[in-house]
Subunit: 324 residues, 2 copies
C-alpha cells in the first residue's frame, strides 16, 4: 500500500505534535514542512522531509496527499487556510467557535478540487461529536461542556501583558459541585462563575506591585472578572518546574429523559499534553480526508461529516470484528 | 418537509421504546407495527398505525421509509433481518458480538435495493464509536469496556431456569478498583473476575433449598463461575418494588500515550431504562438510514459508516453553528 504523503504548515507546539504522530503512523510519510520563518534556519526531527517557505507551497502541488495546517486561529488560519485549500487537501484545528460558520464558507469556496476538514481537535472536534451524538440519542435534555483542569494559552498571555508581570500560567478548572449536579441529572442552570474557576500562577518582576497585579488580573473583563480567580505569585524557577507542561481536558455531559426515565451520557478527556493530543486527532482526520478525496468528495467538511471508519488504517471488516 | 414513515417489527421492551421515540420525533410518523402474534390481539399506544403480521410485511413494501427491527439477537434477527432487508431499509440492535461479521454478510446480501444499519444501540453502537474514536486518537494504548451497574436479561433468565427459583434479577457491576486503575492510566491486565461482580436477587419457591440454589448459581459455568457472585434471597414483593426497572450503563475507557505524555479518554452511560435508551439510538439511526438511502447508498452498514450529521433533524449549518 502506498503511504499517504503529508505536509505540515507551521512548526509550533501543534506542528511538532503532528510530526510525532505522522512519523508514528504506519500508513503515512512526512514529506514537507512549510514555514513562515527562514527555511534554512528551521530544525525539525524529520531529516528526510523538505523544508520550504509557505510562499513556495505551490511548488509542492501534486506532490502531497494532504497538508495539516498547524497555525493559530486568530490570524494564521483565516489567511493560510484558503490559500492552502486551493492547492492541497487540508486539515486544521480552527477553534474560534463563533467564527466557524464564516471560516467554513471561505474554505468551501477555496476547496474546489480539494477536500478540507476544518476545526478538528478535541473542542471543536471530539467534543462536537459528543454533543451531536448525545443530542441524537437524547433529543430531550441539556448538555454541558466543562473545560479543564488545563492551561489556557489565551488567559496566560493576557496576564503576561499586565505591567510588572514577567511570566504567568493560567489554569481553567471546572467547579466540582457543578459537575456533580450535572452528573446527577439535576439539569442545573449555571452561570459562568458557577461553571469554572481560574487559577493563576504569576512571576512578578523585581519591585513590581503585587497587589496591583492581582487586582488587575481579577478585574480584567471577559478574561477574569466573571470568574472566581485565585492569584499565586511564584518564582520563575517554580513556574518552570511545576507549570511547564500543557495539560488540559474536560467533559461533555448530556442529561436527558425518555418519558419518565432519566439518562446521563458523559465524555471526558484527561490530557498530559493538549497540543500532542490535538495533533494526534488531526493526523487521524488527515487519513480520512485523503480517502474521502479519493472517493470524489470535494469542498469543506467538519468532523460531523466524516464516517468514523475512515479514521484508522484498519479495514472495515477488522473494525466490525474487533470494535463493534 | 415530508415525514419519515416508520414501521416497527416486534413489540417487546425495545419496540415500545421505539414507539415512544418515533412519536416524539418531529420528523417521523409511525405508520405500522409488524408482530408475530395475532395482529388483532396487539394493543399499541399509536392508534393510527396499522398492525400486521410479520408474514404480511410484503404488503407494505413502498409504503414505509424504514422498518426498525426490535426482535432479539438469538433467534429473531438472524431470521427476520434478511427478510425485512429485502423489502425495506432497516435498523436493528443485533448484539451478539461474535456473530456480527456473519450477520453483516447476510444483511449485505439481502439489502440489494435497500439500506440496513445493523448492531445499533449502545454496545454495540455508541460504545463501538468510542472504541474507534479512541483508537484513532490514541493508536498507542489500551481500551477497556465495563458494563453496569445494570440488569443482564440473559443472566437473570439463567437463574430462573434453576429448580426452586420463582423469579430473579441479576445486576452486572463493574469493580470500582479496576475502573480506577484504568482511569489512572495504569493499563492493568484484568481477568474476568477482576472486572465485574454479579449481584443476584432471587425469589425462592416455598420449601426450596436455598443453599443448593445459591451453590448452583455460583457454580454455573460461563454465567457465574468466573465471577465473584453474591446471592440475596428476597420476596416476590420486594423484587417487584426494588428491582423492576431495567437500568444499565457502563463505560469505555482508553488510556494511551503520545511519546512520554499520557492521555485518558472516557465515555460513560448511566441509564434508567436500557430498552428506552437503546430505542432512542435506533430511532436516530433510522433517520440517517433514510437519508443515506435517498443519496443512493445500498447494502449493510454499521454505526462506523454513518456520518454523525445525519443523526439529527437539524441541518448541517445549524449543527456547525451550535455544536461544533
Amino acid at each position: 500500500m502506498e503511504k499517504i504523503k503529508v505536509g505540515i504548515a507551521g512548526y509550533g507546539n501543534i506542528g511538532r505534535g503532528v510530526e510525532k504522530a505522522v512519523n508514528a503512523a504506519v500508513d503515512m510519510e512526512l514529506c514537507a514542512f512549510f514555514t513562515r520563518r527562514d527555511p534554512a534556519a528551521l530544525q525539525t526531527n524529520t531529516p528526510n522531509a523538505k523544508i520550504l517557505s509557505v510562499d513556495d507551497a505551490k511548488s509542492m502541488q501534486g506532490e502531497l496527499d494532504i497538508v495539516i495546517l498547524c497555525g493559530g486561529s486568530a490570524t494564521d488560519l483565516p489567511k493560510q487556510g484558503p490559500v492552502f485549500a486551493r492547492l492541497f487537501n487540508t486539515i486544521d484545528s480552527f477553534d474560534t467557535h463563533a467564527k466557524i460558520p464564516d471560516y467554513f464558507t471561505s474554505m468551501q469556496d477555496a476547496a474546489k478540487d480539494t477536500l478540507s476538514i476544518l476545526s478538528v481537535g478535541w473542542d471543536p472536534g471530539l467534543f462536537s461529536i459528543m454533543r451531536q451524538l448525545s443530542l441524537a440519542a437524547l433529543p430531550t435534555g441539556n448538555d454541558y461542556t466543562f473545560w479543564g483542569r488545563g492551561v489556557s494559552q489565551g488567559h496566560s498571555d493576557a496576564i503576561r501583558r499586565i505591567g510588572g508581570v514577567a511570566n504567568a500560567i493560567q489554569y481553567t478548572v471546572p467547579v466540582e459541585e457543578a459537575v456533580q449536579a450535572v452528573r446527577d441529572g439535576k439539569n442545573p442552570t449555571l452561570t459562568t462563575r458557577q461553571k469554572h474557576l481560574r487559577e493563576c500562577y504569576v512571576v512578578a518582576k523585581d519591585g513590581a506591585d503585587k497587589d496591583r497585579i492581582e487586582r488587575e488580573i481579577k478585574e480584567m473583563p471577559n478574561y477574569f472578572s466573571d470568574y472566581d480567580t485565585t492569584v499565586t505569585f511564584v518564582s520563575e524557577e517554580e513556574l518552570k518546574r511545576c507549570h511547564s507542561k500543557m495539560p488540559h481536558g474536560g467533559m461533555v455531559i448530556r442529561s436527558g429523559s425518555t418519558g419518565e426515565n432519566q439518562h446521563v451520557m458523559e465524555f471526558s478527556l484527561k490530557l498530559d499534553s493538549n497540543p500532542e493530543f490535538t495533533a494526534s486527532v488531526l493526523t487521524a482526520y488527515a487519513r480520512a480526508a485523503v480517502r474521502l478525496h479519493q472517493e470524489g468528495k470535494r469542498g469543506a467538511m467538519t468532523v460531523l461529516d466524516v464516517p468514523l471508519s475512515y479514521l484508522t488504517p484498519e479495514d472495515p471488516a477488522w473494525q466490525r470484528k474487533n470494535l463493534l
